[in-house]
Symmetry: C2
Subunit: 367 residues, 2 copies
């Protein structure tokens, strides 16, 4: 079939020019005689790819010099253990403050319990993850090693639109952000964070690459049980090559960063993301209840839009109608049902327009 509009929550759609370049260079990267998957990670060619990728990423996100960028493996779920193994011993209490914003951050807090005390500072569970607790209401510990926040939840569809200033809230702890599902979709307030991590398979590239941005002063606190390959200080001092990094995924990420730059950079990408999300939410809210999104307006995610048909029994028919238009992967997460559209960077406005058209036609027919 022709290229579909793929609304998968991740792994997710990638920019077509990236895929075309990757295909064209598959057997011979820029006259080197070998493809990128076949390159020694310590060779001249891959070093060039790697350096360009990191430089472009730093430039796009305006990463300050006192943050290291690490290219790791294991995804965000891996990081749920790797973060405490690296940071929990910063303070003697070995306590981490967790803000629960949805399914993923709940999972994160449970994993954290393997390595120290987890204090739930705030949670949106009472509203079934459809709101975000105001930072002023967070019950922060005096002695936390860090404060963990997942700033976009793919299942509930909530997004933190302004990172909290922990110092203003009386905490000296560094803010740790799981930004897996919206990294590179908007700028980051670096002065408010200590560490940001993200699995790549949403806005960045293929699954199997994990990006970690860590402030210099947070290195060097790893527990003895932390595997060397996951010790941030070891990874940093070896330029992400203590073990063989996922070279292909890094290469694709580099092409994606190049594509973002060509789109006008993060500010331009953010503007497009705002427009795409606004279009879809307007279609839902304007459907007179035929479609419903339950998330409070001030924390609706630009990336992941879960929505439901008033008549839930029509959901399979809607999915069929969408598929006929080449609109794929719109089924909601199994834990909540309904529908979900993920609108990552690489989803074009035309894809959202087509989805909205499909929704309106379906509502007219079944309303």
């Amino acid at each position: 079939m022709a290229r579909a509009h793929n609304f998968s929550p991740g792994p997710a759609t990638l920019p077509e020019p990236v895929l075309r370049q990757a295909a064209a260079e598959m057997l011979d990267w820029q006259g080197s005689g070998v493809g990128v998957m076949e390159m020694s990670h310590r060779g001249r060619e891959f070093a060039q790819i790697f350096e360009r990728t990191e430089a472009r990423l730093r430039e796009l996100l305006a990463v300050p010099a006192h943050f290291r960028v690490l290219f790791m493996q294991g995804g965000a779920i891996g990081e749920n253990a790797v973060v405490p193994m690296n940071l929990i011993a910063r303070r003697p209490a070995r306590r981490a403050d967790h803000v629960i914003t949805g399914t993923w951050s709940k999972k994160t807090s449970r994993e954290g319990e393997r390595y120290g005390q987890v204090h739930v500072a705030a949670s949106n569970e009472a509203t079934r993850h459809t709101t975000l607790p105001a930072p002023s209401s967070w019950q922060l510990s005096a002695d936390a090693s860090y404060v963990h926040l997942c700033s976009n939840e793919t299942i509930g569809g909530v997004e933190v639109h302004e990172l909290p200033d922990l110092r203003a809230l009386g905490s000296e702890a560094p803010l740790v952000i799981d930004a897996s599902s919206h990294l590179a979709s908007r700028p980051i307030a670096w002065d408010r964070v200590g560490l940001v991590y993200a699995g790549a398979q949403k806005n960045i590239g293929p699954a199997g690459l994990t990006l970690v941005f860590v402030r210099d002063d947070l290195l060097g606190h790893a527990l003895p049980v932390c595997p060397s390959a996951f010790d941030y200080a070891t990874v940093a001092s070896n330029g992400s090559m203590f073990n063989t990094p996922p070279t292909w995924a890094i290469y694709i990420a580099g092409l994606v960063f190049e594509w973002i730059a060509q789109q006008g950079g993060i500010a331009a990408i953010e503007q497009r993301n705002v427009e795409k999300a606004a279009l879809l939410y307007a279609a839902i809210d304007g459907s007179e209840g035929f479609y419903v999104n339950r998330v409070a307006h001030d924390c609706r995610s630009r990336m992941n839009v879960p929505f439901f048909l008033r008549e839930d029994s029509l959901t399979p028919a809607f999915l069929d109608a969408a598929r006929e238009r080449g609109l794929l992967q719109l089924k909601g997460h199994k834990s909540v049902g309904g529908l979900r559209a993920s609108l990552y960077n690489a989803m074009p406005l035309a894809g959202v327009q087509s989805l909205v058209g499909c929704m309106q036609e379906f509502a007219a027919h079944h309303g």
Copy 2:
């Protein structure tokens, strides 16, 4: 340039038909409208790729039903921690017997010390990793949780050609094999092993995928500090999808397995590997000392052939001559110098013939 013969120790050369197919399917996998990197790991299409890949691998290597195949991340260096986190607590002494066969297994034993006692049962350090200690000489513990052996060392260039029968040596411990650099190049004696692991980036596919074959009875002993994403029991019970697996790397591995099957399977591949290695060793040994390989004949690696010029100062000139012929990545590991040719499955006989031709010409010119 035209496709080179790439002797990189890893990431390493891949079969050209695999690269061609990957390029052709990049934007649209088999009429699905999406590329493999863009597929949800839980979708129908990727499930198909995943199941075929595992089935083909099991068939090729004749993996018994009581072994699980896990698709993980973190590479062999990650596994150096993941193995003890999963197995060291099997026995109260929390001791692992390690056989040192080279640089990598030394590294493995040091990492193991984070999680329990490491007992070096045998080592080839006295011969600078040019021999292998006979299993009958191994000093095995009575109470080891497992015995670790790296069965092919890429730097020293030694290979274990017959796995030991630990029961015959009086040990009840399972044998754990780091087979990173020769997995799928030869059959595995499953009745002699408890666990086999391998980074993919030699014979299997791109860096970022780790294969683990684990006997059922070894599941369920993980330390509490073992991250869930690296707990073999958790990974196994979730069909390698507890976290998002490296989907692209799994797809490429599947294409490589298909290619191996088309070559006639593991037996045929092994025969070719024997021939390729014999050709190169014969050229070295027949050079009247112009080229030298220092490894004892009974444990020379078929995969990684380190060799040296009698006149070490000629090494850069040799590398230049090789490069002119399109023979790449022949520089020896920085810790030992000299030259090294890695002859993984995807290196064709023609590549080795070309290398031998280059060596003979260079010797004639400089001898």
